[in-house]
Structures are given as structure tokens and as C-alpha cells.
């Protein structure tokens, strides 16, 4: 089938274009010198839990303690720091990095709808982010309790271990979906995405202290609802200000997060139609 015939069938054309852009973008998103700090974010917990797995004996704690420690690492490190900043680096640079490298015009000079380009870039970023962070979560989960040997294997194969691992990986992937769409939008709207990123970070970290209604306008609220160990209690001097809200059930949290992310992505894609190539400014 020739190009002219493909062009008369929009869905087939868009599918081909998405595949072609993904091929180009994945190379950049997965392997980039610019992303060295994202590799550190993903490898950090793997190395620490890996070192923990080499410790002989129980060290005076139980498998349950390791599970609780991992739940803390997941909620405090992965959700609030690693995935948040990793997605900031990956998604806000999908367009921005090409402006800095002066190569964005090659896409803009192709007969591709800007919306298709934006969605393709988002998918490439999402694939990379999930490989990094869901991979890091899975390895960290396995390493933190690996020193329990057969007990841990039993916990995985016949206990709740595999189920928990699946939920952690899914929550990490959904975090990439949610934060990815937000930072894709800030990357499209702002030349310097750091200021909007700081605003998003403050909003996300204020979540425990927000009234129940406002809590629902954040990514972290839904993600915490999905964590297998439940929400970690808020510590510190401001703990008394925290409001307790009933966790959102998974059947509502997952589609809710996907819908909100889809809307944010659609807005970013529509805004990308207005992007101009002005490298010198």
C-alpha cells in the first residue's frame, strides 16, 4: 500500500506515524547522557536494597518489618521523589530537549498532526519511565527481603508477596502515567518547567493537610490509595494538621487517574499545535 493510499485512512496513518516516532524517541528517552541523574534515581534504591540483601541473618527484624520498610521507601522515596523528579526530567524534556538541540523542526516539518506527535512522544516517555521506575520498584522489592531465602520465596509463591509486588509495580506505572501527563503539559506550556514543577511538588506534598475535597485534585492521593500497605501515617510537628480521608477504592482510583491523565495529555497535545520553532530566543 502506498503512502497516498495510507494517507486516506487516518487511523492507519496515525498508527504508522506513532510507531515511527516511538522508534526515534525511545532511543533518546531510554539512552541519553542528559538523563544520568534519572539513572541514579532509579539505581539508588536498587543498590541500597541490594546491599541489604547481602546482610547475613535477620538482623533482629522480621519479614513483616522489611515489608513495612519497603512500603515507606515506596511512598516516601519512589512516589514523592524518584518518580516525581524522574517524570519531570523525562516528560518536560520531550519537546524542550529538542529545542535545546535544535532538532524539533524536523518533526514540525513532517506531515504529522501535532497531537499525534505529542501523544507519540508521551508514549515514548511513558515506556522509558515505566522501564526505569517499575523496574526499580520490582528489583528493590525483591532485594529488600531476598536475604530471607526460602521464607521469602514461600511468601512470594504462596503468600501475598506476588500480589503486593504486582500492586507496587502497577502503582509505579500509574504514577508515571499521572506525573508524565502533568510534566508533559508544563513542558509544552513553559520554557522553564522548574517553576511549575515546584508548584506541583508543593501541591502534592500539601496533600495530607488539604481538606477531603481538595485532596482529590492530586496524583498522590490516588496513588496512595493503591499502595498494598495502605497510606503511611503523617509524622512530624505538623502531623496534627493532617486530615484523614477514606482511601479511594482501586476500581475508582485507577480509572480516575487514567481519565484525568488523559484529559491533561489531550490539553497538552492541543497546546502543542501552537508551538513555534524559535531556537534563538
Amino acid at each position: 500500500m502506498t503512502w497516498n493510499r495510507i494517507a486516506t485512512q487516518p487511523w492507519m496513518l496515525w498508527r504508522r506515524q506513532v510507531a515511527a516516532i516511538l522508534r526515534l524517541e525511545l532511543k533518546k528517552s531510554l539512552f541519553s547522557k542528559r538523563a544520568w541523574w534519572i539513572y541514579i534515581l532509579t539505581l539508588g534504591p536498587v543498590l541500597i536494597t541490594g546491599a541489604h540483601s547481602l546482610m547475613p541473618g535477620s538482623g533482629g527484624h522480621t519479614l513483616g518489618d522489611d515489608n513495612m520498610i519497603f512500603a515507606g521507601i515506596f511512598q516516601v522515596y519512589f512516589l514523592r521523589l524518584g518518580i516525581f523528579f524522574g517524570c519531570l526530567g523525562i516528560f518536560s524534556n520531550l519537546f524542550r530537549a529538542e529545542v535545546l538541540e535544535r532538532t524539533l523542526h524536523y518533526y514540525f516539518m513532517s506531515p504529522v498532526r501535532r497531537e499525534v506527535l505529542a501523544v507519540s512522544k508521551y508514549l515514548a516517555g511513558l515506556m522509558a519511565a515505566i522501564v526505569y521506575f517499575a523496574g526499580s520498584v520490582v528489583l528493590s522489592f525483591l532485594f529488600i527481603s531476598a536475604h530471607w531465602g526460602p521464607v521469602f520465596q514461600q511468601y512470594l509463591s504462596h503468600g501475598p508477596g506476588l500480589h503486593q509486588l504486582g500492586w507496587y509495580a502497577l502503582t509505579a506505572a500509574l504514577a508515571c502515567v499521572g506525573y508524565g501527563s502533568v510534566f508533559m503539559l508544563t513542558g509544552v506550556l513553559y520554557r522553564n518547567p522548574m517553576i511549575p514543577a515546584a508548584v506541583v511538588m508543593i501541591w502534592e506534598n500539601l496533600n495530607p493537610f488539604l481538606p477531603s475535597l481538595l485532596k482529590k485534585f492530586s496524583v498522590i492521593f490516588y496513588l496512595k490509595s493503591l499502595c498494598p500497605a495502605g497510606e503511611m501515617p503523617t509524622d512530624g510537628p505538623l502531623a496534627f494538621l493532617a486530615t484523614v480521608t477514606e482511601p479511594t477504592p482501586a476500581w475508582l482510583a485507577i480509572p480516575g487517574l487514567l481519565i484525568v491523565s488523559g484529559l491533561v495529555l489531550a490539553y497538552a497535545a492541543a497546546k502543542s499545535r501552537k508551538l513555534e520553532v524559535s531556537y534563538s530566543e
Partner: protein, 314 residues
Amino acid sequence: MSEPRIVFDNVSRFYGEVLGVNRVNLSIPAGVTSLVGPNGSGKTTLMNLMTGLIRPTRGAIKVLGIPPERPEELFRKTGYCTQFDAFPKGLTGYQFIYSFLLVHGMIASEAARLTEEALQRVSMTEAANRPVAAYSKGMRQRIKLAQAIAHRPTVLVLDEPLNGLDPMARAETIALFRQWGEEGRHVIVSSHILHEVDRISDQVILLSHGYVVAEGQIQGVRSEVKDQPMQILVRCDKPGLLASRLFEQDHVVEAKVSEDGRGLLVRTRDADSLYLLLNRIVLDNGLEVEAVAPADDDVNSVYQYLIGTEGGAT
């Protein structure tokens, strides 16, 4: 049905408070059209506007009836070779062209065939499998050109396409532009090199400080410059006699015999009258005329008259 054209309708573009181009009205027909003007005159801005890389602050543009805000339609028919000397990292010349043809939505075999064809057209087949990062400036220029023409566009926009090319490649590229123009495509070229513009162009657009100073076929533009007398070179056996007869006319401003004594350079305010008079003088005095040709209806002269030497055009 009217001939498809590239139309600028009262287009202005400002960069903040800085003027890019102002109140541009153009209707560009098929053939080779050169944008000429000093640095900062608005050539690249016009090209970026017609390809939708930037948006007009005011006015509207249509390229063969398609507004640049619809790249998915525009770039099926348009190729743009920009001045930006940057490429996606890690690609060979072949992969660079092939990958972006796939982005068009082409199937692999069609993309491969068009990639090879484009590489052949710019004589880059042998270097195709080397990384673009290892190319010389001239090779990078040619691979950009190949990428712009690979999908066989009917509108080609080329920003300083001869930059960095060696004389042989320049000659080949100019021949290519002429061929495309003769095939009925729209070829829009910006260049500083005026004698090359002369060889390429069917029409020119002269720009200065963001304004279109003149447009059209170069002879037509020249005849509109009334305040500068036309220069006509007459090669004949008796230039002195011819000069004395011509000086009797009011419209003849200057007549200068060439160093070899076989030519006369005449400056006149009325070229048509001069040509008529010349016929009579030749018949009356039995002059042997080898050639009569305008000496300043080229881009260089028109550029000097309208824009001057500012901006370093060569």
C-alpha cells in the same frame, strides 16, 4: 481554475517589539523565486512563516491553498531545508532520511526507495551509511537537502541552500533547482550570493528591514527603478561615432567607451527610445554591431539600487 500560488495576505510578524516582517503581500507563482536581502531583512522569517514553524502576528498565509497551521497537509506537498545545522543524534545519513519518511507514514519499502533516490540526487549515496555527525559542512548541507526533497514535494523552501557547498556541488545543486522550477514546482530560495541568484531565479523578492522592497521578474523590477538610468552595453566597430550621436539625446545621461575600443556603455533614462534610435544610427552610419545587452538588469544591480551595500550581500 487559477494557478496554485503561495499567498501572503498582509502578513506581519513581530518578535516581541522587534520587527520580523511587516505588511507583506505576495503571490508567488511556480518556478524558482529567490528571496534576496541583507542579514536581518526577514528572509528566514518569511520562510518560517510559510512553513508554519512560526505564526504571523497579523495576516494570513496559504501555500497552494493550505494554511501552514495544518502541517499534516502542508508537508505532504512541501519540503523545507532550513539553515539550522543540527541533526538528531546517532543517525547515519541514510537513517536520517529514512526515519523521517517513516514519520510521514510511509511503508518501509517505499521509504527505502525514496531515501535512495534522494541520496542519489544529491550525490551522497557513498557516504549514506556514515554518521551525520562525521559529515563535513557541505555533506550536512546536502543531506538536509536530500531530506527536504525525499518525499518529492511540489513546494521546496530552501534557506541558503548553497552555503558550504564546493563549486562542483554548487553547480549541480543550481542545475537541480532549475530543473525543479522547469518541472512546475515552487522553489523558494534565499541566498546572499547574488550572481548565483541571477542564474537560478525566475523571479526575485527583495527584502529590507522586514519589508518587501520589490518583487517580480528581475528585468521588470529593474525597469521600475526609474531614478537609476538603465545601463546598456553596445559592442560595435565605431563606439566613438555612436557615442557622439547618442549624446544628442536628452535621455542619454552617460556614454563610456570601453578600454578595448570595441564597446560603448550607455546610461539612459529611456531604454525603449534608445533601442529605436540605435536601429536608426546603425542603418544610417553602417555600424557593425556585435551585441546589444542591458548591463544592469541583474539581481546585483537591482539590489544595489534598492537596498545599497548594507548587510554584506556579496
